[in-house]
Symmetry: C2
Subunit: 212 residues, 2 copies
């Protein structure tokens, strides 16, 4: 019973044992390559990592984009699940902070997911899945804001942006980010997101856009 998009894509009768093994390798290799290279992966990257030829790749997969879309759909859906589960946490801040960390960690650890959520995967038609995620996050943010554990002087949409930016865009000023740079960025951002800030006297920025 193909629950996942990947399983659905690769549904097949009774392939030979070696063929099955290759498909699994291929999927694993694609995930890896997607993590490292983002949406710029090529068929050759994948085939090489999987240790198979291009012919093998195209035997089971209709096209590169279909494969990428299937994998990313599953990844995004998993993140949506996490957001939904965070809503079960009784403490609104804890639920939010928990998800924030998951969200940033997942994005930071997969360039492919980062690209997709940054709107660079238009050709893959992921919008419906992204919209579901968006709704879940909005609920989480709104709940925390209503409980007054998250700044309410910002539009809810500013929060996903703030979180997303925890991922370093590459080097900076000649400095190379360490693998957990996102963690320290997130710490700063979460601190900045708590309400009742009385500091930052002459900072820039005015209140955000109208809500919803």
């Amino acid at each position: 019973m193909p629950e996942s998009a990947v399983a659905a894509l690769l549904a097949q009768g009774q392939p030979r044992a070696d063929a099955q093994r290759n498909v699994e390798r291929l999927v694993a290799a694609t995930r890896e390559a997607l993590d490292e290279l983002g949406l710029a992966v090529t068929t050759r990257d994948i085939a090489q990592r999987a240790g198979v030829g291009l012919g093998t790749l195209y035997r089971r997969v209709p096209s590169l984009d279909a494969l990428l879309a299937a994998i990313l759909t599953d990844t995004i859906d998993e993140m949506t699940d996490r957001a939904a589960r965070a809503l079960d946490s009784p403490d609104p801040w804890q639920g939010f902070a928990e998800f924030a960390e998951t969200y940033v960690q997942l994005r930071a650890s997969s360039c492919g997911l980062h690209d997709a959520l940054s709107g660079r995967g238009e050709r893959l038609d992921l919008e419906p899945r992204i919209t579901r995620l968006q709704r879940a996050v909005r609920q989480l943010v709104r709940r925390a804001q209503k409980a007054n554990v998250l700044r309410a002087d910002l539009d809810w949409r500013d929060i996903p942006f703030a979180l997303a930016t925890a991922i370093p865009p590459g080097h900076t000023i000649g400095l190379v980010p360490s693998g957990d740079q996102w963690r320290r960025n997130l710490r700063i951002i979460l601190d900045g997101l708590r309400p009742a800030r009385s500091l930052a006297p002459e900072g820039p920025a005015e209140p955000a856009a109208p809500s919803d």
Copy 2:
């Protein structure tokens, strides 16, 4: 007296008046294209924007990379000047915050600069200029930390990263950033960078790496 890299690159005897006009258009077009398209600009982008042919471009410019490098060198140097000037501000926080805004604004308004500072411009050999900028920023950060107006529990290097991340990486979760999204992100980040935070009880992240 060519003070700027661009002027040096384009130094020439006494070009015909129309040729001079074209060179100016070309430089302006390159700046524009670099802002919008980042380091992915092509010669055709530039020529088209300038309203000239490719031949005209190559008449005065040895190569695309040389042109990009010259323009970015000037831009980075200007930013270094701003950092140096911020050191003149008597108030350490004000100097820092002032520069932070300039820094983020410039980066947000030019994809080319953003790319270069994110380490994507290796082929252009900008490291020496970036190193100068890095030194100026370090001074600014250190001064603010010593004055206890900026969290001292972070390595100074974390601060440029935190600032750089104010620039949205594109869309997020299907949301499209407005042109001044960076301003709201920066606000959150600057708030998170003030010292004496007593909030964020159960947040993740441990203290940063050893300094220097």
